[in-house]
Amino acid sequence: MATAFTRQNSTEFDFDHLVQHDRVHTSLYNDAAIFDVEMDKIFGETWVWVAHESELPGKGDFITTHVGMQPVIVSRDRKGVVRVLLNRCRHRAATVCEAKKGNAASFVCPYHGWGYAQDGSLRGVPMADGYDASFNKSEYGLINLRTESYNGLIFATHNDDAPSLDDFLGKAKPWIDLFMKQGGGYPVSTGGEHKFRFPGNWKIQLENTTDAYHFPVVHKSFLNSLDSQAEELFSFLDGDGYVEDLGNGHSVMVMIPELVDLDANLDDPIPDRFEELAEELRKEHSEEEVRRIVRAVGGTGFNLNLFPNIACSMAFFRALRPISVEETEIRHIAITMEGGPEAANQMRLRLHEHFQGPMGFGSTDDAEAWERVQRGSQAGPDLWIMLNRGLDGDGNGPGGSNRGDVSAETGMRAAYGEWKRMMQA
């Protein structure tokens, strides 16, 4: 177990009281002491998503990011192995890399010049004869976190005793496979991102990706900007969608069932808003390819929420990072088809810009709503955050799992169940 220091003793809290099946206590949004425990017991222990493999395709490629509060480098070493390294010099703690991404033969600390290889091992120490004979470079490599990946998604954990990533993802894996079909026959690649912060707790965002209930209210101005066909498609609250608890805090919210499998229903009519693109693609692609690409461009019809920090959300990745008890950073990472038709990728980018980002037609209103949640939670400190929509779906899913209708709060209950289990572990 790698986390050394728990700032708050978690036994101070009565989590059985604070987290009940159908409600959680308001203090989960605004108690800084609970936040400290979360950083140790959740972000310090479980698998945290750090990157998509397309962000570091070649040897020596790296990005910098965070696991919880801790800065890390995700680096592909000279053997092609992906490493997640704590971004902290083993001499006196300076970050060894501040670039957001790049390619580097090595990481040289800017303070006294210790040099580290792409796998984190310490290679060079200036004026090494100033150390005595007991100094052994092999003891001072950058700390490697345990790193595993599934279908392009790279995760890291501080916890050497954590179950395998495979076991952790469990029933979420087939949904990840379905999500990756939006390459439309090409590899899925990240294509830039919108990053923003809002003054609110990270769990407000965690809840939101499995919250269909807000869509027609918060996103009415987005819906109004669509053609009538698309507006109909996104008016999914009266459809056959559902939310299913997938175990380990993960859940899937199916909003548009006919867009779960992008390889299916290729004979369906092409929606009006994609007709121009289809016409363009027909110049160089067979009708079958055109249909597959066009269907992939719009993304899937579901949000897969992976506890605690990543969602595969219809047509993009959404990653969250806690900054403090009442500040959260969110990245909406666009997806493109690696080597795919330019017109199709441009349309993907334009669709992303339409909804996402600080000036998008959707995210801007989400951010306003979440800020209001945090502000409102200052009132009535003994009140509860209610999660009791769709309780009648509990036990109704495959194998007796919980599965409610599309607007059910089943996914939030799944996440808080895992939260409680980890906080009490």
Binding site: S221, Q346, R350, G357, M359, T364
Partner: protein, 159 residues
């Protein structure tokens, strides 16, 4: 007769646009654009291919129209509660000039205020202005936010 555009003419239009945006007079704002005008807020500092990159905004005329409809619709709570803004545009330099067209680089400093908080939004702005049958209009405006590659929080107005 010379058809070149003087910097004073260009700054007059740029200031008019800035004033319309601070006043949130979006219908009038739409009219300062040429039909093929592009309104762009890039993310990456060295972006030289906006169409093939993810941007914050990449608006042609129809997206600008939709954007304005949304801002005015009263169905967007971020637009309804948008910060009030005061902006200045200055430090003008002419980067290119031809018949009936001028390219101007400028600095924009905007202060917004919302819910007891003021924040500064700083940007370099590249304008391309063209003279057509409707007089001088904006053919392209690229807003290079100083913080574009870091987190950029929700903006309920226009830059």
């Amino acid at each position: 007769m010379s058809t070149s555009i003087q910097l004073s003419e260009a700054t007059a239009l740029i200031w008019q646009e800035a004033e319309l945006l601070d006043r949130q007079d979006y219908d009038e704002w739409l009219k300062v654009w040429s039909d093929d005008g592009l309104y762009i807020i890039p993310i990456e500092k060295d972006c030289d291919d906006f169409a093939n990159s993810l941007n914050y905004i990449y608006d042609d005329q129809s997206m600008r129209d939709m954007r304005v409809r949304r801002l005015k619709s009263s169905f967007s709570m971020s637009a309804l509660t948008a910060a009030s803004t005061v902006r200045t545009v200055s430090r003008f330099t002419v980067s290119n000039q031809s018949d009936n067209a001028i390219e101007v680089r400028a600095a924009q400093i905007l202060i917004e205020h919302k819910r007891d908080n003021s924040r500064t939004v700083a940007a370099n702005v590249d304008y391309r202005l063209v003279r057509g049958p409707n007089g001088l209009q904006i053919a392209q405006k690229v807003v290079w936010l100083a913080n574009s590659e870091d987190s950029v929080n929700g903006i309920g107005y226009l830059l």
